[in-house]
């Protein structure tokens, strides 16, 4: 930091505040008790930092400072189940997305074959279809296949979104890798070996970013979960949280739940953010 850059510091501060403000508003709510939230006009800061909401949502009572008991949430069972299922679904979707998308994006980005453009357009069309309009067809199909209320059912439907979307993002990235296929052909590596052992290690940033995108989507997916698994043993965290909206409104516990959902993706992002900054999809300047 040799030069003072007041404009930069101000802009960065504004950006950080902008990014964190809505989250901090919920942090504030999560630490408040029932009466404080209902208070009007609202306070900016909670009067005390009580952890009751975070404890309650996992099914435990919490003894407040004044000796009264903040009772465990009635949603706790659903939340714990949802957390468990969300981890399974997100891990599976992430893994399967990577396995499918990396070769697919590679094929589209670096090989030339007939009908390439037609197929690419089909992928793009899949990105464009809104989930609200595919819900009824999939629901009907799932009823017949017995997939409603099951984890595999949710995983499959999540893949229908992640696969085309991530493919679309990875194509530009793969195009920018150096043309080592020619080198590999001279050295006598098979196509598959080239992809798995030469291209893949080279493309690890792209793979990491694909993982982040797929994980975030599956972790946060709400519409499908609400229709397909809500209230079943296969409920996911977003569906379980929706319980706080209707049956059991409790803003503090709701806020606590939402904050909990941010933690796993934030950890993923923290460890992989280096790769995000490597994800150039445009032609490099020469």
């Amino acid at each position: 930091m040799t030069k003072r850059r007041p404009n930069f510091v101000i802009a960065m501060t504004v950006l950080i505040i902008w990014s964190l403000l809505p989250i901090l508003w919920f942090v504030r709510m999560a630490f408040m008790n029932h009466a404080e939230i209902a208070n009007f006009p609202p306070h900016i800061f909670p009067s005390s930092f009580n952890l009751s909401s975070f404890v309650n949502i996992f099914g435990y009572d919490y003894k407040l400072a004044d000796g009264s008991i903040s009772a465990a949430s009635g949603q706790a069972g659903q939340i714990e189940l949802g957390l468990q299922n969300s981890i399974i679904v997100s891990a599976a979707v992430t893994l399967i997305t990577i396995i499918i998308v990396v070769p697919l994006a590679y094929v589209f980005a670096r090989l030339d074959f007939r009908f390439k453009n037609v197929l690419l357009n089909a992928v793009l069309l899949a990105v464009a279809i809104p989930p609200v309009s595919t819900l009824i067809p999939f629901y009907t199909l799932y009823v017949q296949l017995g997939l409603v209320g099951t984890l595999p059912g949710l995983i499959i439907i999540d893949l229908t979104t992640t696969v085309p979307f991530v493919t679309w993002m990875l194509i530009g990235y793969f195009r920018n890798l150096p043309p080592i296929e020619r080198l590999a052909r001279i050295d006598g590596f098979s196509r598959l070996h080239t992809l798995l052992f030469l291209i893949l290690p080279l493309a690890r940033s792209g793979v990491a970013v694909s993982a982040i995108i797929a994980f975030l989507f599956a972790w946060n997916e709400f519409t499908f979960a609400l229709v397909l698994v809500n209230g079943t043993p296969a409920t996911t965290l977003p569906a379980a949280i929706s319980g706080f909206l209707g049956q059991d409104p409790n803003p503090a516990q709701l806020a606590a739940c939402i904050l909990i959902t941010i933690i796993p993706p934030a950890l993923v992002a923290f460890f992989l953010q280096r790769h995000l900054a490597e994800m150039n999809i445009a032609d490099p300047v020469r």
Partner: protein, 358 residues
């Protein structure tokens, strides 16, 4: 070590023809340079020899064996790519080792080969570095080591020096030729740089627009160019071209008149080509001299080049003594030596004649 023959090779992409009816014999152990401007088909030809690309028609023979449909590895070729392409995420050692992957050598033999190649190219201290940690010249050496370690039937080099700076190019040029001669392996080297071609090649194959214009030793290519394209593409400073016409066996272009002893040359438009060292600078109105206005004077140290515009704006160059003095805008004459002129017909081919002042 191999003799490579290309028979009636044709390569087209959809409607675009990249290479047209190419016949080429590459002699065992020679250093053949394929020279031409970009888009002339030289890299496509190299790729077909490598097996990276397959010809639409024709045959490729290695030592008489038909390898036309053989994949690259089956041909046992080694290739150095433009800007010395290496696997970016592998160390130099791993990069070199990748060349030996499909050989049946023992582990010790492999290590020995890698060590030999590294020593030959002075790469020993860099074997465990990544390509991104090395300079352009070191990467070029690593790519060469990767090529020689396999002891291939031939080396194929696709403009390997083009991304390097001039001084490095100069030293790597002789280094590559020296290495090739010591190993005695056939080499095909693609370049668009005529100096590289002249200095490195045992023979040069000049290509233009998918056709082979001429193949021969640097001396043949320079002194007996088969076409106007070859004549002007090689030589520095480039050859002077003067448009004129033949009537009754005499070439005329303004004040220039040259008698072509060869009889039976049809009348018609013809181009005269003469190298800058074969003209004399005279007064603007001297007989047989083309009047020019001096455009620039370039000092090369041992000699200088006068560049002048003639009446039509065509640039003519003359090699002069370093002491020569002229100012831009001066009027001079440039007179070709009749005996050193080439004549090219309307089709661009050279007309074989002996010429003398008319």
């Amino acid at each position: 070590m191999a003799k490579i023959e290309l028979r009636q090779i044709r390569k087209s992409y959809d409607r675009y023809v990249a290479v047209e009816n190419l016949d080429l014999d590459i002699i065992d152990g020679e250093f053949l340079v394929m020279l031409g401007p970009s888009g002339c088909g030289k890299t496509t030809t190299l790729n077909m020899i490598a097996g990276l690309d397959y010809p639409s028609q024709g045959q490729i023979l290695f030592d008489g064996r038909d390898v036309t449909a053989e994949p690259p590895h089956g041909r046992n070729v080694a290739m150095v790519f433009q800007s010395s392409l290496l696997y970016p995420h592998l160390t130099v050692r791993k990069n070199i080792e990748a060349s030996l992957r499909h050989s049946k050598l023992s582990k010790a033999e492999r290590a020995q080969r890698i060590a030999d190649a590294a020593r030959m190219l002075e790469l020993e201290p860099m074997l465990d570095k990544l390509p991104s940690q090395m300079s352009g010249g070191q990467r070029q050496r690593a790519a060469t080591a990767k090529a020689i370690v396999r002891e291939p039937a031939c080396f194929l080099l696709d403009e390997p020096l083009s991304a390097l700076d001039a001084a490095l190019r100069l030293s790597l040029r002789s280094e590559l030729v020296n290495l090739q001669k010591r190993l005695g392996t056939t080499a095909v080297f693609v370049t668009h740089d005529q100096v590289e071609a002249m200095t490195m090649g045992d023979r040069i194959a000049v290509m233009s627009k998918g056709n082979l214009e001429q193949i021969g030793t640097p001396d043949e290519i320079y002194n007996q160019p088969a076409s106007l394209f070859v004549a002007t593409f090689l030589g520095s400073p480039p050859m002077n071209v003067v448009a004129g016409a033949i009537s009754n066996g005499v070439f005329h272009a303004g004040p220039v008149a040259i008698d072509l002893a060869g009889r039976g040359i049809p009348n018609g438009p013809v181009s005269l080509g003469v190298r800058p060292q074969h003209v004399t600078v005279t007064a603007p109105d001297a007989p047989g001299a083309i009047p020019v206005t001096v455009y620039a004077l370039e000092h090369l140290g041992r000699e200088s080049v006068v560049i002048g515009d003639d009446a039509t704006g065509n640039k003519l160059r003359a090699l002069v003594d370093p002491g020569f003095h002229a100012r831009i805008g001066d009027r001079l004459g440039i007179a070709p030596e009749a005996g050193a002129c080439f004549f090219f017909g309307a089709d661009g081919r050279r007309i074989a004649v002996s010429s003398s002042p008319a």
